[in-house]
Amino acid sequence: MSTLKEFSYGTAILSAFEYLLDHYPEVFVIGQGLWSPWYVGNSMTDLDKKYGIERIIDTPVSEAACTGAAVGASLAGMKPIVVHPRMDFMLYAMDAIVNQAAKWSHMVGGQAHPGLTIRAIINRGGEQGAQHSQALHSWFAHIPGLRVVMPATVADARDLLIASVLSPDPVIYIDDRWLYEQTEYLPPVKIRGLSQEGPRVIADGSDVTIVGTSYSTKLALDSKHVLAEKGISAEIVDLRVLNPFDAEIVIQSVNKTGRLFVVDGGWRNCGMAGEVIASVAENVPAERWKNTPVRITLPDAPAPTSRVLEKIYYIGVDQITATVQKAIA
């Protein structure tokens, strides 16, 4: 017990930064708001004071240049972490991410790898509306060459960030402000290779498989408790790594339960939920299916601001449990 220490999702991220900055002189951090704790919750508090403003670089309002510069620094041997306090802001940086970082290794015959990490934060709700709310992980997961990581748990928030930064590939590490208050007791850091990481069963069950990512994994877990009261046993799979995507764990689970529900905080069309279902459908024999698989995603609309619309926009536990109950009734 003595080696366990309590962390929140936010402080777990902070401890990953500290670990990386303590152990790897080639790590530096660049992005907006790094000298102000406000933008990023408690996940980067005082890094500037501890490691100096040369390594913790708060920047001009220049997402494209900062991200491109990090790609270049990684090619020159550094391990940069770019922080975009809101995923919506990093759309200015798409060229550096999609045309440059994602393709570089392949274009030069595997001789150089931009080993940068881009920390993109999903920050939504609070009537902020369409341009301050997006969860665009499915876009990035579409791109060969990008590793896309979404921690749902406190342990993953820390350990997958470390694995991302130590990976020689460009990684999009996406965390969610709605998870920052989760807490967990964690053992000391153990280094893991990111390419060995993938989806995981985080709660066993036998009647239905519910797949989540990041915050939607938390929703799936909360739903499990409600469903249990109704006599439905749900197995929860947390995707964790969206690209490269390995569906094996989900396939195994559906082979057992015969029922698949995928909860995703992104949109439906060409989204991660559809990808999971397609990958499982290709591999689970027809006779095993007890129900058609179901996607639980955002409505096909930008995020509204008005509180009444915001309330119906985001997925809640009720929606998941009702969908599951209806499907298997």
Binding site: Q32, G33, W35, S36, P37, W38, Y39, D58, T59, P60, V61, S62, E63, A64, A65, D88, F89, L91, Y92, G126, E127, Q128, G129, A130, Q131, H132, P299, D300, A301, P302, P304, T305, S306, R307, V308, L309, I312, Y313
Partner: protein
């Protein structure tokens, strides 16, 4: 660091009444009214946000009102104005209704964006306001396009792009300046240089505090003014706007100013988590665009404290009335979430 702004960014200076510089005092009395309206409307929003009646963020431009008032004076309904996250005053200065703004901030269906946008996504086409968004620099290129359209449409309408010193750090601004010049787009770029982008002072972000250097780099006709002097703003804006209407291409106005509140919401002592210098805030409050115009008009003998107090009472009533109405309006129907996504609902 080059302090090219020199005196203009020194908060100890320019506290005296403004030089009315030949502008008819009747016009200035109207502008004083507009300035006070913008000020009181935003102070009201600050108070309501503090009280929790407003659910979303509000970025207030208190202290910067003279810029919108001075520019809007030369605009007409067919012009094409684009704003930012801090655009309440850009909208109101065009004569847009208070009630529409308040209802929008509250997410009501009677709001300017029908309750779909809130404070950060404002719209009022009937007054020439094409839209404001919170992606920094997000509308600058759009404004250039609206100006190009005005040219193609053979009108002498112009576009206006409001943006900040922080926005000047986005590459898209520089692409837009170049494009506007090369296409002779009839546009006025209005840079409200309030010396800050959220918690960061301009000296932490740029090698110079002057934003007009980007106009020089693109050969764009420009002026730099004290943004807290409504006369200076309107005189410079007038010339640049006229040039744009006359087909001489883009213009660029840098207006130096300061925001009295922090970056977002009602506090004046905090900028996104970082403590502000209250000393600087106090000095800038003394460079108040309203007080400076008011005293200029009093010195001219066409205004007095009594009339000013009466004006404030009258405007407060208007504000309270518009707010009460907005509070009792309805929220959008749930069906609107999907209805507004496309122009066509499948019936085309």
């Amino acid at each position: 660091m080059m302090h090219m702004l020199d005196k203009l960014s020194d908060p100890e200076l320019f506290h005296d009444p403004v030089d009315i510089n030949g502008v008819p005092t009747g016009l200035l009395v109207d502008q004083l009214r507009d300035l006070v309206l913008l000020r009181m409307a935003e102070q009201h929003l600050a108070a309501m946000r503090k009280d929790g009646l407003i659910g979303g963020p509000v970025h207030l431009g208190v202290g910067q009102e003279a810029i919108a008032v001075g520019v809007s004076k030369w605009l007409r309904n067919s012009d094409r104005v684009f704003g930012t996250h801090r655009s309440h005053s850009h909208l109101l200065a065009l004569g847009s209704s208070l009630h529409g703004l308040f209802a929008e901030v509250l997410g009501k269906e009677t709001g300017h964006s029908r309750g779909m946008g809130g404070s950060m996504h404002l719209y009022d086409r009937s007054n020439g306001f094409y839209g404001a968004v919170p992606i920094v620099a997000g509308t600058v290129s759009l404004a250039v396009g609206a100006a190009m359209a005005a040219r193609l449409q053979a009108t002498d309408d112009i576009a206006v792009a409001y943006f900040g010193d922080g926005a000047c750090e986005e590459g898209i601004v520089h692409e837009s300046l170049n494009l506007s010049k090369i296409t002779k787009a009839p546009i006025l770029f209005v840079v409200e240089n309030n010396l800050f982008a959220s918690h960061m002072h301009v000296t932490q972000r740029q090698p110079s505090d002057s934003m007009v250097r980007f106009a020089h780099a693109n050969g764009i006709s420009s002026a730099v003014v004290d943004g807290n002097d409504v006369v200076a703003v309107q005189n410079s804006a007038r010339k640049l706007i006229q040039e744009a209407r006359d087909g001489k291409g883009p213009g660029y106005l840098e207006a130096v100013t300061y925001r009295w509140y922090g970056h977002v919401d009602w506090r004046d002592d905090i900028d996104v988590g970082v403590k502000r210098s209250m000393d600087d805030v106090q000095k800038w409050r003394a460079r108040d665009p309203i007080k400076r115009l008011k005293h200029a008009l009093i010195n001219e003998g066409c205004w007095d404290e009594l009339r000013h107090d009466e004006l404030c009472v009258k405007l407060k009533n208007e504000i309270d009335h518009a707010w009460e109405r907005a509070m009792s309006d309805s929220y959008p129907d749930e069906s609107k979430l999907l209805d507004y996504v496309y122009a066509s609902l499948g019936d085309d």
